[in-house]
Amino acid sequence: MKGVAYTARELKADVEVACDVCIVGSGAGGAVLAAGLVERGLKVVMLEEGGYHTSAEFDLQEATAFPMLYQEHGLRTTADVAITILQGRAVGGTTVVNWTTCFRTPDRILEHWRKAHGIESLSPEVLRPHFEAVEQRLSILPWPAEAANENNRVLLDGARRLGVEARALSRNVKGCANTGYCGLGCPLNAKQSMLVTFVPDALEHGLVLYANTKAERLELEGDRVVAVHGVVLDPVSDRPTARRVTVRPKVAVSAGGAINGPALLLRSGLNANGRVGKRTFLHPVVAMTALHDKVINGWWGAPQSIGSHAFIDRGPDRVGYFLETPPIYPMLAASAGWLFGVEHQEHARALARTSSLLALTVDGLLPGDEGGTVSLRADGRIRVDYPVGPHLIEAFRDASLVIARIQLAAGAKLVRSIHVEPVELTSEADLPALERAPYGALKHSIFTAHQMGGCAMGRDPATSVVDGQLRHHVVKNLFVVDGSALPTSLGVNPSETIYGLAHWAREAVASAV
């Protein structure tokens, strides 16, 4: 039986539908789960607040992509505007706009979850077949180092000259033309996002998908979800219409991702232990730019194909970090810093010769590191607060110094921080100035493209939201299958962990029907 996809254009009247499983969200968690459930013959309904966009609409212009494909039309930040939050919003979720880097969950993270959060259900052995399955479906393979673009070459060459480990990353692509526009929606469907893989797989086997439909709340009776209430959004104004979609499932799944997933539970009054929205982790990113004599053209080529985990374990009481690269699109680059006017324009003029490296800090592993908090504002908006504490500040400083050394070793003639008052370096003799610079919220730019936690998995119902099977501790027919279930950050890009967890969770969710 084939499925059907509806968008707001067809939803002219209220809809009420019963099903086995209602999944809220169509990203890395929801799509993989849906495909597995419909294969088992279950009737699955999926709600997705974003639009059902295809490559036909991906014109590779930032002015198109960010309002169309990103949360809050590209404006999502922490409440203090200190951290820019890049997160997708469309059928396919963040996988439509991520930069394709894939890692299995590190063994040490699974071991940490077992020891610190009592999660006995997950191990490398348990997850291995699930990773293998998604790697095959999504064509997750190493991207050859020789195909690295010049921006990634800066990381590879600079690291190697300093004796720092750096290596080629794996990407979920098939027939990639190296356009470099992964973050704006792949124009060739070469990126094996959920949009072109597990969502169509699920539709082929019976999924009923409602796009432009925001799940407002879960209706509860006792310890069970009895309905998921959605509102249809106008695809032009993005405002709620009067039309409603009400789903009456046997099992409900929150898969709207970190930040939106916890917000759904909060709107539903599901926060008896006060843990929903807590332990929100972001892999907070500090970045540096560098100016080269040679042309970099950092908008071209696979945006993220080289990485280094040389600094992932910096010893006890220190936050580790890993190094990767971003694409250098004009809007993304120009809006990243703190300068304005002539000075800013002169920096922008050098875009083609500018490289950039990122350090992604691994939050949530140190004792007492609770990360950030997702909550609801009085007007209904989602609020994200993230305190940047001393451990992160130390890591930002150390990482900035490491990045600067790598960029200089790679031949940069000028390295520049993204501070309120940028620090410029032309040689290692200038490193002390970078070390003395202030670090922390609103002292330099901070970014996140990896949102995790908020409905943390754990054994103890007093300190977590879902159990080791991703089932809500109290509401027995509610599962959380997305990045919000992660009890810490990962130290690697999270998409494959979410794919793997969702693939693994299919049995538990199906068994609950």
Partner: protein, 186 residues
Amino acid sequence: MAITRRTVLKYGLGGAAILAAGGVGLSLRPSVLRAPQRPLAVFSPLEYSVLAALADRIAPARDGFPPAAQLQVAEKLDDLMAISHPGVADDLRKVLRLMENAVAGFVFDLRTDTFTGSPPEVQDEVLRAWQHSRIAVRRSAYKGLLGLVTATYFSCPEVYPLVGYYGPPSYGNVRRPPPPPPGVPT
């Protein structure tokens, strides 16, 4: 009463504004309004004018860089606010009104004119004061405004050649008509 940063920190924004208003007679020049190039959905004429003035300073017309007005930066931000949660536009309006407010300007920066009524060099000083403010909320507001304006300006194809960007490749598929109406069986 002398209005100092210490006063502001002690009494807060509201208190300091009241103290300033009751102090020496301020020479308040009126706001300078601009006409938008098309009807606005969200911003008032004053809010639009402040935003347009800000855009002129954040992305000044010089040495080939086109005027923000030519790229309709403020109008495009009105479009963006129209599809955003109303609370986002409300927050932005508050920041724009605060930036324009001469009393607040005096309290924080000893500025006696409205932002739109100030000459460009004074407007630049105001921006720098917000950028480097010891008050985190002002730095937050600055970061937000800067991000909105620079993102809008530098996402315009007219700016691409100035930064050495040759623009995205063109694939035939982007010119295809929209996908068939969803709702039909896939």
